[in-house]
């Protein structure tokens, strides 16, 4: 499947801004199963300077600054992404990895192979997931029973979060402590991903945060409106001898061809889509719209194929 992705962020400054420095983490990744075919980043006003680099977690980060007075800032990222879940997984090793127990996983993680050194940081507290609460631990323990396979336990945790938590936009923000989310059992995809990560880490197991997009489908019989998608977030766990496997607790599924991966981090703190420092008086407001849909060219080709 090939997708056209369009992500627009607009800031309006009440009294204008004289200067700004910004960082964006919105460029989709390329890895087996996902290929970034085309990408453009349009920024208005035109930045004075702009550079792209790969960060510690392997994400593409773009830094730009605008040095003239401006009233609004518009950042539009346009991508064409090919997604093919079938080539992402190796069924045979995956089946084996699914069976590895929690205890064996912990044992493997004591190793110092280069990959494991990297994985071990995802066992540790992180900026937004910094303390273990008893509530989180006991919630996690219900699924992470001794002897169980890490994969199964994680799958069940995902299902429970999906069932126990309500998707309520506006109840939380980025600074809402996990404890509160846990107590109210309400939040959005970022909260669910971070709750899951906190649970898994409280069990001494590695989990990381994934930011990206998900294709939403319109109600049956209706045309999909433009710009109605949103940024999405889920989590990933490391299975020994296999690698990272994603879970989406918001939608109760293993992300496949409808999920586009942008960045990985310890939690949201590491991978905000856009952040920055501005010099400005007064308030500012933000509007975000995202559109993710199968590429027209791609659809057209598919349709032309099936007519033959």
């Amino acid at each position: 499947m090939i997708f056209d992705l369009w992500h627009k962020t607009k800031y309006i400054y009440e009294n204008g801004a004289s200067f700004c420095h910004n960082l964006t983490t919105i460029k989709p990744k390329t890895f087996p199963g996902q290929t970034l075919l085309d990408y453009t980043l349009e920024i208005s006003p035109t930045p004075t300077d702009i550079t792209e680099r790969t960060d510690f977690f392997g994400n593409a980060v773009t830094r730009f600054s605008i040095q003239q007075h401006h009233k609004e800032l518009i950042v539009i990222a346009k991508s064409k992404v090919e997604r093919d879940y079938a080539s992402q997984i190796d069924h045979e090793t995956f089946l084996k990895a699914k069976d590895i127990s929690i205890e064996d996983t912990k044992l493997v993680l004591k190793g110092t192979a280069s990959e494991l050194i990297d994985v071990r940081q995802f066992l540790m507290p992180s900026p937004l997931i910094s303390s273990n609460s008893e509530t989180i631990k006991s919630y996690a323990a219900m699924s992470f029973k001794p002897g169980r396979s890490f994969y199964d336990a994680t799958y069940e945790l995902m299902q429970r979060i999906y069932t126990d938590f309500d998707f309520v936009p506006g109840f939380t923000n980025i600074a809402t402590p996990l404890k509160e989310v846990m107590l109210a059992k309400k939040g959005v995809c970022q909260d669910f991903a971070q709750i899951a990560i906190a649970c898994i880490r409280s069990m001494g197991l590695p989990a990381k945060y994934v930011s990206g997009y998900i294709e939403t489908l319109p109600p049956e019989g209706k045309e999909k409106l433009i710009g109605t998608d949103a940024s999405h977030a889920w989590f990933s766990v490391y299975l020994p001898n296999y690698g990272w496997v994603d879970f989406d607790p918001t939608n109760n599924q293993i992300p496949k061809n409808q999920h586009i991966v942008v960045a990985h981090g310890r939690d949201y703190y590491d991978v905000p889509p856009l952040k920055g420092v501005i010099y400005s008086m007064g308030k500012n407001t933000m509007e975000v719209s995202v559109d993710l849909r199968p590429s027209k060219d791609y659809l057209a080709q598919m349709q032309s194929q099936s007519q033959q």
Partner: protein, 851 residues
């Protein structure tokens, strides 16, 4: 030495600890200390006490301070230096020096590795959690390349003597180590106050070390290597070691700047200066890692520079020490140092460390938890300010709580063996007393090794039994001597830069905030002086009035009281609603105008604003200035603490203050160069004095009084204007309003006349850097031209003309009012054109995360 028993050493022997620097186990004085002990005996107890007082006085006079957070005594606690130095012989120091060099090099290699290949982790030398659990490991700094041979440029080690008699490393400081300036000042002070202490002792001086330091800063420049711009970045006057920042700034001769003086554009760092932006090549920073860049590091930091890290990545600026070096301030490295030393250098560690067990390892954790009370527990980073648990003193509940915390995040804790470090003699209450000491010394990257300061800063435990030595908790310091058997050269007063021959400052390069602070300090001191003189004049008139009761006297007093309110803009004061009450008890209102710093326009408020602006300029001060400044503050404090006020006490206060203000102004003019920004001070001063004079004239010269009253008013005005003698000299006649206006408004040669002052102001403003390409006039210049032409368009008869209905000199009033407005606009335009006007820094998305 039998005489010892009757001297300062009297109780030393019985009080001494297990391990003492002065005494051997057989209670005799060690060889290295013999000459010093003799010198101390020779000076004698009484003299030592006098010298200690002199030392305290000198340090306080020189403004050597240390700010203690949350200290009820407020900012600027005087630095405390004990008269008795601490010493180590070169024979021992040579080995310590080697150990420091080795450790600096090791930490340098660790730093390179952690932000580079991470072989220490991959080869199993260092468990990754030692790094991942440390808040100083900054992922944003990963893989940054540096041109300098050494990534770690400055290293500070805290040393203490262990039970085995060797010097042990207690702490590593690698971000922005403090103490170098204090160490130097300690040496200067001791040498100045008690040179006899050095009799027959060869003390190594840190001159070469500071030259190496200066050379390091210059050589670090990746850009403009010929003549690099070096700045010292300070968090500002409220930081605990601000004294040292300004001290180093004047000692080394580099501008002291704050984060908002710098800006990143086009991937380079620029200093906002009077003429515009000037590229910065090297930053010696005294700000912690995470505060350095609000874009990529701590988002809520207002101390750093947004985009700085990118400029570092592009190798357009060098930061000393590099951002991210805080990861080395990590006691959890200790247990692995031996292996790291083998791995990198194939050597044994030269300096011993405190035995440490990192709780992130299972075996070690069990060992620690099995007998928690026998350990000292620390967090591996300083996210909690210097949090150390002395477990032996913890009660059961606290131990349980700590145990729980350790079990929850074991890798965050390190346990250390409890060690009794050595004591050294300290002069307290005319006696020598053994106190625990901690020595901090410094290493600077030089060629392929490190240059180590001979000596450093010794800190003394505040109480006799105290285990913990830290400046942050108060305490005393000592001069730290390395003594040798050969004579040593003298100490240099400044660090001279051998390779940089281009003149460093012209008016264009003055940092905007320095210029701004100079401008405002000129304005505030001008305001304080005019206010003081005017109030003193009124107080004198009150004294006169007590002895005669002419009607005109009381009328003129009322006019004068009301003029105070107008001149200082401390409305309502003597005017309006509470007029009657205020006039009934004028001393109360005058006292408030003097002392109430919450009253806008009061003398106290001017002085406070003045202090703030001036304090921010500390690096430009001479020591005499500090002395006078301190004297002014003390007089204000004394007056505040007085319960009764009389006209006399207040007059007396102003007599003292006015003399000091004038001394201070004279010192300012002779010790700061015009091209360092003094021009801005003059402009501020002239602007304020002129503006207040205009108010003064408007308050007393406009209404047409009868002859007797007019005489008194004019006399008072000239008095407050310090122009009575000049008037007598010039006119040799009865006071007439015509002559008075001629003298204090129109005279072209008299330095206190308004016309003269306006011309002088114009001349100074003309000297400011032009912001235009061609020779167009700046807005400030245009304004000044308007002022002059307005003033010149009025004749004396215009000014004297009285409006028949209002009985006022309305034309004069109009002129003065117009001039007042124009001066205000001029001041604004100077501020707009030359000062730093960045809008407030904000986060694009306020994530309210502070970690």
């Amino acid at each position: 030495m039998k005489t010892l028993t009757k001297t300062i050493f009297k109780n030393y022997f019985s009080a001494s600890s297990k391990y003492d620097e002065l005494l051997t186990s057989k209670m005799s004085i060690k060889d290295n200390w013999k000459v010093l002990s003799q010198n101390l005996l020779h000076i004698g107890t009484e003299n030592l006490a006098i010298k200690q007082t002199e030392l305290n006085w000198l340090l306080s006079e020189n403004g050597v301070t240390y700010n203690v957070y949350n200290d009820p005594n407020g900012l600027n606690r005087p630095w405390d230096l004990n008269v008795v130095p601490y010493l180590i012989h070169q024979n021992e120091w040579t080995n310590v020096e080697k150990g420091i060099q080795q450790r600096a090099e090791l930490l340098n290699l660790i730093l390179k590795d952690l932000y580079g290949k991470r072989e220490l982790l991959k080869n199993g030398i260092l468990p990754p959690e030692v790094i991942y659990a440390h808040s100083g490991f900054l992922r944003a700094c990963d893989q940054i390349k540096y041109k300098n041979a050494k990534q770690l440029s400055i290293y500070a080690a805290d040393l203490a003597r262990g039970p085995d008699g060797r010097m042990w490393v207690v702490n590593d400081r690698t971000q922005a180590p403090s103490g170098m300036g204090y160490a130097l000042e300690n040496r200067f002070s001791t040498s100045k106050v008690i040179p006899e202490l050095f009799t027959n002792i060869n003390v190594t001086q840190p001159t070469n070390f500071f030259n190496d330091f200066n050379q390091l800063l210059i050589n670090s420049a990746a850009t403009n290597a010929e003549s690099p711009m070096v700045v010292i970045l300070t968090p500002g006057p409220h930081n605990e070691t601000y004294f040292e920042h300004s001290y180093l700034s004047s000692f080394l001769g580099y501008p002291l700047v704050k984060g908002n003086d710098l800006v990143v554009r086009h991937g380079k760092v620029w200093l906002k200066s009077l003429k515009g932006l000037k590229q910065v090549d090297v930053i010696l920073r005294r700000i912690d890692d995470t505060f350095m860049d609000p874009l990529e590091l701590r988002e809520d930091s207002y101390l750093g520079v947004a985009g700085l890290l990118e400029a570092v990545r592009l190798q357009n600026v060098s930061i000393i020490n590099p951002i991210g070096s805080g990861v080395l301030e990590n006691p959890a490295l200790n247990p692995f140092m031996k292996n790291i030393c083998k791995y990198f250098l194939n050597e044994e560690l030269i300096l011993p460390q405190i035995a440490s067990w990192w709780c992130g390892q299972e075996k070690e954790r069990k060992h620690v938890l099995a007998d928690l009370p026998s350990f000292v527990l620390k967090r591996i980073d300083r996210s909690n300010r210097e949090h150390i648990y002395f477990c032996e003193f913890l009660d059961k509940a606290a131990l349980e709580q700590l145990k729980k915390e350790i079990l929850e995040f074991p890798f965050r804790f390190i346990a250390q063996e409890k060690i009794a470090f050595s004591t050294a003699p300290n002069f307290i209450k005319n006696q020598l007393e053994p106190r625990k000491i901690l020595c901090r010394t410094f290493a600077i990257a030089k060629d392929d090794s490190y240059s180590v300061m001979p000596g450093g800063l010794v800190r003394v435990a505040p109480e006799r039994e105290e285990l913990f030595v830290s400046n942050q908790r108060g305490g005393t310091s000592k001069d730290f001597w390395i003594v040798t058997d050969t004579p040593q050269p003298n100490l240099q007063n400044y660090s001279w830069n051998k390779s940089n021959s281009s003149p460093s400052t012209v008016i264009n390069d003055v940092p905007s905030h320095t210029a701004e602070n100079l401008f405002w300090s000129g304005r505030y001191i001008g305001r304080a002086l005019v206010t003081a003189r005017y109030l003193r004049m009124v107080l004198n008139q009150m004294t006169n009035a007590q002895y005669n009761d002419r009607k005109s006297e009381s009328e003129s007093l009322k006019i004068l009281f009301q003029s105070i309110t107008k001149i200082t803009s401390t409305f309502p004061g003597f005017i309006g609603e509470n007029e009657a009450e205020a006039l009934q008890n004028p001393l109360k209102e005058i006292k408030d105008i003097i002392l109430d710093e919450h009253k806008i326009g009061s003398f106290a408020q001017s002085m406070q604003s003045f202090s703030n602006s001036y304090y921010a300029l500390r690096n430009l001060w001479s020591r005499d200035m500090w002395r006078v400044f301190d004297g002014i503050q003390k007089h204000i404090k004394t007056l505040k603490n007085k319960e009764d006020y009389t006209v006399y006490t207040l007059t007396n206060f102003f007599d003292k203050i006015i003399t000091r203000l004038i001394a201070f102004m004279a010192l300012t003019e002779e010790s700061i160069m015009v091209r360092q920004g003094l021009l801005l001070y003059f402009i501020g001063l002239q602007l304020e004095i002129s503006a207040m004079n205009i108010e003064k004239f408007r308050a007393v010269l406009i209404v047409n009084y009868d002859e007797e009253l007019e005489y008194e008013i004019l006399e008072s005005l000239l008095n407050s204007h310090e122009s009575l003698n000049i008037y007598r000299y010039s006119y040799n006649s009865y006071l007439s309003i015509e002559n008075v206006i001629n003298l204090i408004i129109l005279d072209k040669e008299y330095s206190r006349s308004l016309t003269y002052q306006m011309h002088r102001l114009k001349k100074d403003i003309d000297k400011l850097p032009s912001t235009h390409q061609n020779n167009e006039l700046t807005v400030c210049q245009e304004n000044m031209n308007l002022v002059i032409s307005k003033l010149e368009s009025f004749t004396i008869s215009d000014m004297l003309s009285i409006h028949s209905e209002s009985n006022m000199r309305d034309k004069l009033d109009q002129l003065l009012s117009d001039l007042s407005d124009l001066l205000h606009v001029t001041s604004m335009s100077i501020s707009d054109t030359y000062f730093n006007h960045s809008q407030p820094q904000k986060q694009l998305v306020n994530r309210k995360i502070s970690n």
